[in-house]
């Protein structure tokens, strides 16, 4: 019999019941909640007079609607100027209090984007099932946790039963072998993968990311990659456990205590695919061939390397694809065969559950250090993923580097990734964004998003248009303190 994949192991370890009709009941270890997709679920519980099955499995924080300026945040919930957003955040607070669920509220230093907070607290652990009413829950798979987004009816179902009705997915492996070039990051890997397999390339699958280039990544980089598995159509992204995983988790607040640590680590070591495991699909990329990526269109598969150009619809054979490209170019205000480096920008956003962790901010700061944001850029903002990321960045002096360069340094939240708060693009504005979706209107009505890595976003902010970060003079931010 063939060996098991990591996904197979996680699935069987959580299987409560397998039914003849192909459906199954799986047990959920961790349920993360935020203000946007939970109110109707709590309302459903109330109407049916049900209680949460297991309180300690749940952890909540507001992130989508929270303002990111210091002035607004100083006032707590009262600083949320949009009354509809305020109601939503207040409703999360009220529901968590009424049902007894732990919540990191707006001005708790542990508040932040739910997919940054979970791992940072050690609330995401290898071998867990992790769900949240948010498609970027795939992020947590970087820890060899079976993690995926769910809808609000499923949020209610998990609250009430601690289980999810599920069907086993197919196994897909994306192997990235070899060494990344200098200036090329996890974000470029995942954009290149999506460019290769398309936004439906992983539909119905759990994608395990493997290969030496993945092994070489930090946990932050692995989270960036798993985060965007959903942009390749896969609800689940996974990376097997190794020393990097275990070292990251040591002494996190929710991680196993000293008594349990050794037993936990021993169990986690098995959370890798067996040598002889069989995958339904496999894709292999050569890391050395991946250049910094920039999305030019309105779907994450519409990407090009920095030295490339926008495609020419006339050269596309498939009629549906061709019409999609024509529509995207019209929306984006780009011409066929326009060079990527000729795309001029109006705003720059460094943040989101994809790229707002400490390593992301360090990468961007290296590029920004000692330089100035171009005059043509109306706004360049850095939004840390959590209050703890913000504190760490400030301890390292990154905030000063950004502020001196002309970036705004904000309070944690989802911010301009999806513009549910006041941070948004105006119609027609081009934005270099470290977020995950370039859909029409995503960052603001009529806004034009270009997905890039934090280093590429910082370089674009300085130049005013896209530039190849591999040609940019980069300074290590840690050198400053030594020089000073």
């Amino acid at each position: 019999m063939a060996g098991q994949t990591l996904y197979d192991k996680l699935w069987s370890q959580h299987l409560v019941e397998q039914r003849d009709d192909g459906s199954a009941l799986i047990y959920i270890d961790r349920h993360l909640l935020h203000e946007v997709t939970s109110p109707q679920a709590f309302e459903g519980l109330r109407l049916a007079r049900r209680k949460p099955w297991r309180l300690d499995a749940n952890l909540a924080t507001p992130d989508h609607n929270v303002p990111t300026t210091l002035v607004e945040r100083a006032a707590g919930n009262a600083g949320i100027l949009d009354p509809v957003s305020l109601i939503q955040v207040q409703t999360l607070d009220d529901n968590c209090e009424a049902f007894g669920i732990e919540e990191f509220r707006i001005n708790d230093e542990r508040q932040g984007i739910v997919h940054v907070v979970g791992p940072e607290q050690g609330a995401t652990l290898p071998g867990m099932t992790v769900v949240c009413g948010d498609s970027h829950t795939a992020t947590h798979g970087a820890f060899a946790a079976l993690a995926h987004g769910i809808g609000t009816s499923e949020v209610e179902h998990v609250l009430a039963t601690q289980c999810l009705l599920a069907q086993k997915m197919k196994n897909m492996r994306v192997r990235v072998e070899g060494q990344l070039g200098a200036g090329v990051t996890a974000k470029d890997i995942v954009l290149a993968v999506i460019g290769r397999i398309g936004t439906a390339g992983g539909t119905g699958c759990a994608i395990e990311f493997a290969g030496s280039a993945i092994r070489d990544l930090s946990m932050e980089g692995r989270m960036t990659i798993c985060n965007m598995a959903i942009e390749a159509g896969a609800r689940v992204g996974l990376v097997g456990v190794d020393d990097t995983t275990i070292d990251y988790l040591r002494e996190r607040p929710y991680a196993p205590n000293a008594e349990q640590w050794d037993a936990a680590v021993a169990a986690w070591r098995d959370l890798v695919s067996d040598e002889d495991a069989v995958f339904d699909k496999e894709v292999v990329l050569d890391a050395a061939e991946i250049a910094p990526q920039v999305s030019w269109g309105t779907s994450p598969e519409m990407v090009a390397p920095i030295e490339g150009e926008v495609p020419d619809p006339d050269a596309i054979a498939d009629d549906t694809v061709k019409r999609g490209v024509v529509r995207a170019l019209e929306y984006m205000g780009l011409a066929p065969r326009q060079k990527i480096t000729d795309i001029r920008l109006d705003k720059v956003f460094i943040g989101s559950c994809t790229n707002s962790r400490i390593e992301d901010l360090r990468e961007a700061a290296k590029v920004a250090k000692g330089k100035k944001v171009a005059d043509s850029i109306a706004l360049a903002m850095v939004v840390p993923g959590s209050g703890l990321v913000k504190r760490q960045a400030e301890a390292e002096g990154l905030d000063k580097i950004f502020l001196e360069a002309g970036f705004e340094w904000r309070e944690p939240g989802c911010s301009m990734c999806l513009a549910m708060n006041a941070d948004k693009l105006g119609a027609g504005e081009h934005c270099a964004s470290t977020s995950n979706r370039n859909f029409e209107g995503r960052q603001g009505y009529g806004g034009r998003t270009h997905l890039v890595s934090p280093a590429m976003a910082a370089a674009a902010a300085i130049a005013g248009h896209f530039v190849d970060v591999r040609n940019v003079d980069v300074r290590d931010h840690t050198q400053q303190s030594q020089e000073a």
Binding site: G22, T137, I150, G204, Q260, R442
Partner: protein, 213 residues
Amino acid sequence: MQALKQHQGVVAPLDRANVDTDLIIPKQFLKSIKRTGFGPNLFDELRYLDEGYPGQDASNRPENPDFVLNQPRYRDASILLTRRNFGCGSSREHAPWALEDFGFRVVIAPSFADIFYNNAFKNGILLVPLDEASVEQLFQEVEASDDYRLEVDLEAQAVTTPGGDVFNFEVDEFRKHCLLNGLDDIDLTLEHEGAIRDFEKRHRAAQPWLFRG
């Protein structure tokens, strides 16, 4: 959940691939804490010429006359015909809520995104996957005739055209059962409460660090 056994209705063609959930219902409308009332904002950015905001009276907004749902013959549509990878992107259940609130009960496309697929069935919307050639044929027929209607039979897993062509489709047994009978998932799961408790006990014994309480 409203049961669905057979459905007959007007078909609206949305000729576009990779329709994402941001397009189905833009984020500003996700601020509602209710499950209903999203219909007027379904496809908001395609449907209106201005920028929509929550709480607005949609009846006074300038409509985009080119958008398919604004054409008189499709205003009462209950079957949406579209292209591949429908519902990709975010997990927002507001997308099926908006489709349902508008009046759609069935969506036909070559493929659907995974999370949207789950969310739709939980809200009584039947998703019918048909191959690209069949979808293309339906697009041609819809555009060629007014008041084009299809008959969808979930029990038989079949779509019948006015000309008598029959297309069979796949659907998961469990989802079919729930939709035919309008069953609530939570009640069904809680029938297995004992099995869940037994599992939980074994799980806690094996990996106590997964539990804090």
